[in-house]
């Protein structure tokens, strides 16, 4: 039984989840020019909020998901206001902001551990079998198809949003040169705050998708983010379109690597790929 179709499906499912992280990471990196290490944990936070409303309180699934996305977006915005904005005011370097985001990551991850324990929590309804679809002998569940479609929709909306709206053009200007953008009269702090809100919200969709897929665990935030960053870099940092492609390139290589080496090496393979890419093609696939 040829496993290639299943590997392709596995890669697409994993890729669509990472795409949420990569795309949103690129949006925030584009506006702020620093690697926000707490981004993955904010995504997981969104997943847990959805879990809280949906499983603990038993609310409607879609409402819980929206609340999760809004909560994560708000959290991202708050972090920008109370941490990264003062740092920008103090002309802090990208490295200082990166280390500050490591502090945020450590604290947030432990906070989630306290409220939701470190056991795995799943958002999917385990009392009933998920509808299965088989294509060429490979199976994919209904939820996974929803995640896939969602990933494409969000990516396309974001690309259009960035291309044709004032907000999008402002983010582009800020990413080129924040000082110049200020002079031209863009209220950079408002725009950056907004991109944190939108970026964190989109990342939370990824967090919720993970909740339905493999389940949520407080410590998976960083792992998810690192895949997101790798995808963003491979795809081309700063370009949403690049990040989206990078996500699938990453998961395809990681999944298909099992032909040569056993499954446990996937994590290391993903990073070997990233480093090779960085050496030979630092600008990533999509040249900006």
């Amino acid at each position: 039984m040829n496993i290639v179709p299943q590997l392709i499906l596995n890669s697409i499912i994993a890729g669509s989840i990472i795409a949420f992280l990569a795309v949103s990471f690129n949006l925030i990196y584009g506006a702020t020019r620093f690697f926000n290490m707490a981004h993955g944990t904010i995504a997981i936070f969104g997943g847990y909020i959805a879990f809280f409303f949906f499983k603990t309180l038993g609310w409607n699934m879609y409402l819980s998901a929206i609340l999760g996305i809004l909560a994560a977006g708000l959290l991202g915005y708050i972090f920008d206001r109370i941490i990264y904005l003062p740092l920008r005011k103090r002309k802090a370097s990208g490295m200082i902001m990166l280390v500050a985001s490591i502090g945020v990551f450590t604290a947030l991850q432990s906070l989630i551990q306290i409220f939701f324990t470190s056991e795995f929590q799943t958002l999917s309804d385990i009392s009933v079998h998920d509808r299965l679809y088989t294509i060429f002998g490979a199976t994919i569940t209904q939820t996974q198809i929803y995640i896939l479609i969602m990933a494409f929709i969000v990516a396309i909306c974001l690309i259009i949003f960035l291309k044709y709206t004032i907000f999008g053009k402002a983010v582009k200007a800020i990413s080129d040169d924040e000082e110049v953008a200020k002079i031209v009269g863009i209220n950079t702090n408002k725009i950056i705050g907004l991109s944190f809100f939108i970026g964190s919200g989109i990342a939370a969709i990824g967090g919720i998708a993970v909740g339905f897929d493999t389940g949520l665990n407080p410590t998976m935030g960083m792992k998810l983010l690192l895949h997101g960053i790798s995808a963003a870099i491979i795809g081309g940092v700063g370009s949403v379109y690049g990040a989206f492609i990078g996500a699938f390139v990453l998961t395809f290589v990681a999944n298909f690597s099992i032909f040569w080496i056993s499954g446990e090496w996937q994590e290391a393979v993903a990073f070997v790929l990233l480093i090779i890419f960085l050496i030979f093609r630092p600008r990533g696939i999509i040249k900006r």
Partner: protein, 362 residues
């Protein structure tokens, strides 16, 4: 100037510490032999630690040790288990330790026990290599070499010939997998695939895909982290893996039923005997509304074995060790007699998950 101070302080600390280490402190006389327990009470396998403790407590009361047993939490992490053992041997100066639950933790802390001539009796570590670890190592749970054979026979007798194995990538999983493979192939079956997954990883989709590709008719799933295993069981049904699934005793936790739900339905679980009817009655009288856990009877036997040797006059770790090879009694899991490797023969029960509950299969 401050550099001088720092250098001075460092030197002073070295001299002071080296000095007082030469004298050391004398060992106080051994009054009543002390027994301690190292088990996971938090973390993924925390629920198993609690259940084993219940068995130990029953025996402790029986032998008048109630309230004197020292408990240490190892979180099933070898590093914590080693830390706990180091503290018990060098500070509390115990003579016998019951523990640890996970095989990796037991094998990591055993060398320290052996060095301080302290007996280590594990109620739950089933890795086959533990038999060869050393004279001070005992177990009141049969080695996986027996469970591997039992599991292989169970699958073979059910008429399945192509077995795939998914095992958690640590002592317990790797040990069980090797024995299962040997026995199943000896019976004439074929192991078509064997995939490892990291103990804490929830995404085993790639491994399951490989297993599905080998189209087995039976899959043996060896894992000792119930909530993680539940996620993987869900992935098996998501990937449409149609095969007879057998779980090792690590999967007999509540978290499997809660986490996997319908995906666990119909799964068989082999598990070490949860205790003779006499023991189950005794357990029920004390813990009325609590369901007896997988290692409670083994915990009871471990404590009883040590307590019996002490009653016969064994004082030091060495004396307890010698006596344990001779001790023989009817315990929670049936007749207990340690062989030359410190192992016990074992009987296994088989459970099946029927509408969300573990049911004993006769």
């Amino acid at each position: 100037m401050t550099k001088k101070i720092v250098a001075g302080v460092l030197m002073l600390a070295v001299v002071f510490v080296a000095g007082c280490s030469v004298f050391g402190t004398s060992d106080d006389a051994v009054s009543k032999p002390k027994i301690a327990v190292i088990l996971p009470f938090t973390g993924d396998a925390g629920s198993y630690g609690e259940m084993t403790k219940q068995g130990i407590e029953i025996a402790a009361k029986e032998f008048g040790y109630a309230g004197e047993v020292i408990y240490e939490d190892s979180k099933c992490d070898p590093k914590d288990s080693v830390n706990a053992m180091t503290k018990l041997v060098s500070v509390d100066k115990v003579q016998a330790v019951i523990g640890d639950l996970c095989s990796s933790a037991t094998r990591a802390s055993y060398p320290i026990a052996e060095q301080y001539k302290v007996v280590l009796v594990s109620p739950a570590s089933t890795n086959p290599d533990i038999s060869k670890d050393g004279g001070y190592m005992f177990r009141t749970i049969p080695s996986d070499s027996l469970q591997g054979a039992f599991g292989a026979k169970l699958v073979y007798d059910k008429g399945y010939r192509n077995l795939a194995v998914l095992y958690s990538n640590e002592d317990y999983g790797i040990g069980f997998n090797t024995v299962l493979k040997e026995n199943f192939e000896k019976l004439g079956g074929k192991v078509v695939a064997s995939e490892g997954v990291e103990r804490t990883a929830t995404d085993a989709r790639t491994q399951i895909t490989k297993i599905k590709a080998a189209n087995p008719d039976a899959v043996y799933f060896i894992h000792n982290g119930p909530s993680v295993a539940a996620g993987i069981l869900r992935q098996m049904s998501e990937l449409g893996l149609k095969a007879f699934i057998v779980g090792s005793e690590g999967l007999r936790g509540e978290a499997i039923l809660k986490g996997a739900g319908v995906s666990a339905e119909g799964m068989y679980v082999t598990s070490v005997a949860s205790g003779t009817s006499a023991f189950l009655e005794q357990f029920k009288t004390i813990y009325t509304n609590v369901e007896v856990g997988p290692f409670a009877a083994q915990g009871y036997d471990a404590f009883k074995a040590i307590a019996l040797t002490i009653k016969d006059g064994a004082k030091t770790g060495e004396e307890i060790k010698e006596a344990l090879y001779k001790v023989e009694f009817d315990g929670g899991t049936g007749h207990v007699k340690f062989d030359a490797n410190g192992d016990v023969p074992g009987t296994y029960d088989v459970f099946v998950v029927k509408n969300g509950k573990f049911e004993l299969v006769k």
